[in-house]
Symmetry: C2
Subunit: 270 residues, 2 copies
């Protein structure tokens, strides 16, 4: 009996050593690897056996359908997403489309390290307490809903990890998002950006909310917005948990850099 | 010159093949591996060389300080956290304490696959759109703040990933959290729980919000609370992105299981 399987695989943020062994094993066992060309390019070198199919960005539904049809034909198919396959990735779409097919191909999801986590590790520990993940892409979600979520999350005290902060076609959206954030948070709120986390050309900077508008930000950038407790400690961005704060009162306060008025507190490239 | 380094390492949710190669390399190169005993136990078998120091839960500050002092003495120290080291992990505390020391030991953070991502992959793709991560532990955060965040996140339409939902000492807190959620969300909101994601004895179930109170939930369980668009598709929990919904209107609706009135929609053990 032919048993195909579609594995939706999170390949992590980019560095080969942040791809999990499970993801690598699935990719290497696959008959076909499908994905947006930038991502298949990242894994192609490690996959001497598998056939790679590149697909253009924006063709998510076609790519998911093609993957499922190959699985229906008995192939082992790996559909790759960067980061985690379930976070703004292809897993949901594949599961939904699979349910419309008869017979429905088997679908599994292989998790991965997300871009937000990779960015946070580079910066320090800004996501150490409650945080919300939000995408500014309004291609699929009404902008009003995005603004409502931005406002709701910061009003409730969550740190934000912002995906897809801007693109050529919606360059004004990031400015609009900042305007929403600045009605709820002071301009000296510590923020940060990481571009190409764990990839060649990686770049990070810690900036205040008031200066975030001047930072170079594109689709490949993750933006972190701190909450009222987030602070810069020795050039790292940290959102303390309670015990750290309790402890500091005994040991003397850690050196907290005052970032007000400084456009960029720390900037690093790799 | 002696150069010590403290690496705060996320070892992933538990399965060996979800530990990244970077994390494994750091653990294997370490002179000393320190962590809560349950976590050091997970990695000890792969570490023939390193000395392992187990530390009790609740002794986070002592553990971080001991790790930093060893790094200050020139050792390569790996301080392990389950999941991602920066998500309710030890990274922030280590960075804050390091800043109080002279000379401050070098600290790096190695990201990992979080429990929420591992749980989501098992369930389907519930975190595919904007989501918020929240811990119900009030040991370090005032309960009123946790309630405010729960209410704010669901009112703004975020899916929730709930960490530390309950423990012996605060068994009433999960019921209180559910009461907050049920004032904002209908009882048929699709939810799920995963206990010991990717570990031996893994167990998952999809239940409605109204029935979540009857589910077996403890500290090792991740609870996912859907938003108004989250649904059950062929036994998997999915929060659709816009294009999937747009597409469904062309291809005929996917089979959506009606979960209202059913205490447990799907339950699985591994």
């Amino acid at each position: 009996m032919v048993t195909g399987l579609l594995s939706v695989v999170g390949i992590g943020p980019g560095a080969e050593d942040l791809l999990t062994p499970r993801a690598r094993a699935v990719l290497q066992a696959a008959d076909v690897v499908i994905g947006y060309g930038v991502y298949t390019e990242m894994v192609r070198a490690w996959l001497p056996g598998a056939r790679c199919i590149d697909s253009a960005i924006g063709e998510e539904a076609e790519r998911a359908r093609a993957s499922l049809e190959l699985a229906q034909q008995g192939k082992r198919v790996a559909l790759v997403s960067s980061g985690d396959a379930g976070v703004y990735g292809m897993a949901g779409l594949a599961l939904e489309l699979a349910a419309t097919m008869d017979p429905a191909p088997a679908v599994e999801v292989v998790p991965g390290v997300t871009a937000a986590q990779a960015a946070a590790a580079i910066l320090g520990a800004p996501l150490a307490l409650d945080y919300a993940t939000i995408s500014l892409s309004d291609a699929l979600v009404p902008w009003e809903q995005i603004e409502r979520r931005l406002a709701g999350a910061v009003a409730a005290g969550f740190v934000l990890a912002i995906y897809n902060p801007t693109s050529g076609r919606r360059g004004h959206r990031f400015a609009q998002a900042l305007a929403v954030l600045r009605t709820h948070l002071p301009d000296d709120t510590p923020c940060a950006l990481v571009r190409d986390a764990s990839r060649p050309g990686e770049h990070s900077a810690i900036v205040s909310l008031g200066h975030l508008i001047d930072a170079a930000i594109d689709m490949r950038t993750i933006v972190i917005v701190g909450n009222s407790t987030t602070r810069v400690v020795n050039g790292r961005l940290v959102t303390p948990r309670g015990y750290a704060m309790a402890l500091m009162s005994h040991t003397g306060d850690a050196e907290a850099t005052d970032i007000t008025g400084q456009p960029i507190v720390r900037e690093a490239g790799a």
